[in-house]
């Protein structure tokens, strides 16, 4: 009898690999055994599709890998595949994400648990490739869950968590994982890759149940509806997003139990806040410069802390407001802009002020810093400058509510 080639057993041990944030997400797709992946190149997102392609070509991953003719089709194809019961992945960056906008709007409405990676990139023009958060933020009102990560390990782990949350029948909403262009998408770091066994334990198969588009389950998806129907449909999505908070907490607790890696509060990371007078806030990889600057400032006796937002949708307003009331003043670093918005600030600062407004108790002043646009570095001296201004605000000295930092002026 001919000897058959040994079938590879699922890996039971954790391994360490030197991979980029994008590659970490591709590895998560492999571990999650994603069924359908669509691609259309735009940097910095394209690093994910390239790595997925490599995994498929090398026989390490089995999925339908479709290169669409543009981002709109790219997102439409996976939307339909998901409706038919496939676990799906796609992604884009900057104006590519914008080109898909019509598909992006219908996806949460149909309760499609699509996972997308947004390689955050400045919107055109002037055709920069560097990070800015405005691309992902354009879907913040539509029913997309939005999460920001700041390192490759967190990218991999969050992708697994995102599948678990999005595909939970109580939720069925898409989730975009935002990865800062260059700093995360193009930087290789040492990442622990969990075993397939543990991933299988954490992530059940996608079961679309009563919403499965299949001949055995005759349904019509997205018929025309008018004013008699729309509000109720929107209210359902509102309820699903409301439930997402609790499902995220559950998923992180299970993640810690199975993988032994803890992220603490799922929604935001607090760094040196226990005794902090003031805090800075922000999303994504600017956390590294901020943490380094905070360690320097603490050596000078300045008690500065940092709160890094992970989940922007759902927004953990109550927990955040409770935490932020401990501080004398808050400085929000916006790697985005919202021209003409209240106090001409960025998106995150507006949300933070909003979160603080209804609660009882102290309302610390919130300053906004527009910084690091188009991939510009947020430097340690930039962070020190921001912290100094926040200290002045804490001391009751008038400070401009919105300041541009790191600008040539």
């Amino acid at each position: 009898m001919a000897t058959l080639a040994a079938v590879e057993e699922p890996r039971k041990t954790e391994e360490t690999a030197l991979i980029t944030g994008s590659e970490a997400i591709a590895v998560a797709c492999k571990l999650a055994d994603v069924d359908v992946i669509t691609a259309y190149p735009i940097r910095p997102y394209d690093t994910v599709m390239q790595y997925v392609c490599k995994l498929v070509s090398n026989g390490e991953m089995d999925c339908e890998y479709i290169v669409a003719e543009g981002e709109h089709s790219q997102f439409e194809i996976v939307k339909h595949a998901s409706a038919a019961g496939a676990r799906v992945f796609c992604g884009s960056s900057g104006v590519g994400w914008m080109y898909a906008m019509e598909a992006l709007t219908v996806t949460p409405a149909l309760r499609i648990p699509m996972i997308a990676m947004v390689g955050n990139r400045a919107l055109d023009d002037p055709g920069a490739f560097g990070v800015e958060h405005n691309d992902a933020l354009t879907v913040r009102d539509l029913g997309w869950q939005l999460v920001w990560v700041d390192n490759a390990q967190e990218a991999l782990d969050t992708a697994l968590i995102a599948y678990r949350v999005a595909e939970d029948r109580r939720i069925f909403l898409p989730c975009a994982i935002s990865c800062d262009g260059a700093f995360l998408t193009h930087s290789q770091a040492l990442v622990k890759i969990p075993s397939q066994e543990k991933v299988n334990e954490f992530l059940p198969p996608y079961n679309r149940g009563d919403l499965l588009l299949h001949p055995d389950n005759p349904i019509t998806v997205a018929p025309q509806g008018n004013e008699d129907w729309v509000m109720e449909i929107r209210r359902q999505n509102y309820a699903a997003m409301e439930r997402a908070h609790g499902v995220i907490v559950e998923a992180y607790a299970d993640f810690e139990r199975i993988f032994g890696r803890s992220y603490g509060n799922p929604f935001f990371e607090e760094y040196m806040t226990d005794d902090a007078d003031i805090v800075l806030m922000g999303m994504g990889t600017l956390s590294i410069s901020v943490k380094v600057a905070i360690r320097q400032m603490r050596r000078e006796g300045k008690k500065v802390g940092f709160v890094r937002m992970r989940w922007f949708r759902p927004f953990a307003a109550e927990e955040l407001a409770k935490s932020l009331q401990r501080f004398e003043a808050i400085g929000v670093i916006d790697r985005d802009y919202s021209f003409g918005s209240p106090y001409l600030g960025g998106v995150l600062a507006g949300e933070i002020r909003h979160a603080l407004y209804p609660g009882a108790g102290k309302k610390p002043p919130v300053l906004d810093f527009i910084c690091g646009l188009g991939g510009r570095e947020v430097t340690v001296p930039d962070v020190q400058k921001m912290a100094d201004s926040v200290y002045h605000a804490a001391d009751g000295k008038a400070q401009p509510l919105t300041q541009w930092i790191g600008l040539r002026e």
């Binding site: 560097g130 590294i288 040539r408 002026e409």
Partner: protein, 390 residues
Amino acid sequence: MGRLFAIEIIYRGIFQKTLATRLSRSIVLAAHQEGKMGISFGRYGDSPERNGIPAKNFAIVATDEQTLQEGMAKYEPKQVDVTIAVDDTLCKGVESWAWYGLQPVNRLLKPGGTLIVTSREGPDAIIAMAHRKETPYNLAIVKGTVSFSGLWVYKDDHTDVRILGAIAKVLPDLFSLTSVQKVIMDQWKDAIKAESAARAYERIGTTTVRTDQGNPEVPYKFDFPKWHEMGEGIAIPSIPAGRNMEDPVSHVHGGFQPDRNPTFKKFSTRTMRPVVNFDTCIKCTLCWLHCPDSCFDVTPEGLYDANMQACCGCGVCEAVCPVKECVTMVNETEFGDNASQWEAWRNDKEGYQAWLAKKIESHPERSHGFRYRGQYEEQVPEMLEIARKG
């Protein structure tokens, strides 16, 4: 606070991308063998890459997590322990297509740091090409033909492992030869590669470069305008039209020299340059017509002078020229300046012909990219022989 190491790899875009990536990755992996942590990345501003344009990869390594963050808080390190130039002509200066001006190859080196160059040249030629530095540094040469290949292929000529062996020698605190060999075996399972690394480790020597050695020129730079000084609507003024040229002997005006961007010249992309025989030129216009960088100045008598401030060295002029040896591509290491060939010819035609003949002798001793079928099959055994024998 632990120790932070930074290594930069300066390479030629597209042709050496895989080489540079393999180097920066292997540096991090070799250091990780000794319990250090690190990251490996390419300079994002260099991307998307263009053929031959100088680009950079970095490996940042630290003895602990917090120290690594100190290194990561600056996207591009301000100082490096080792600079690796995988093409000797990069020593003339590095101008990224992201418009940073011309930067000396040794700009980021710490005092006493080491510049590792792959080259067939000796230390004197390399030192003469590099700009002067205010602090002494060391030069180490990994002997061999400069390794060029395409973007999606890799020419496996042991350049990467030989450089890794050299790093273990010049910066032993980063990693040992044993760690390099372990990483080579883990990644490529090739004992001959591990042996090449060991030979490079044994052979590599360094020369100290003094502050009075090197190219004394001040490289051109570029100052960014403030936000309110910039035009609105992302509109920028065009480069003005050109002007007549002046004959250095007769002082006759004529021909046409286009104006060029004074702060974005691109000539550091060049690894070979065209030399022109003005006595055999038939003024057919083909070089001028085909040059993708409009680098040919039209002289008052209707000849074509390749302007070395603008030439990227692509070789199209040589390819389209119908006259034998009228335009010949020559290794860029053979030249010490960007002076006009036409002016030299006008001033001394006999002297120019002698100079030209001498330059053409060294053709062809290098090529970029993939030029003909069977090229790698010829080059790889040569390089392996150098790796073995030195």
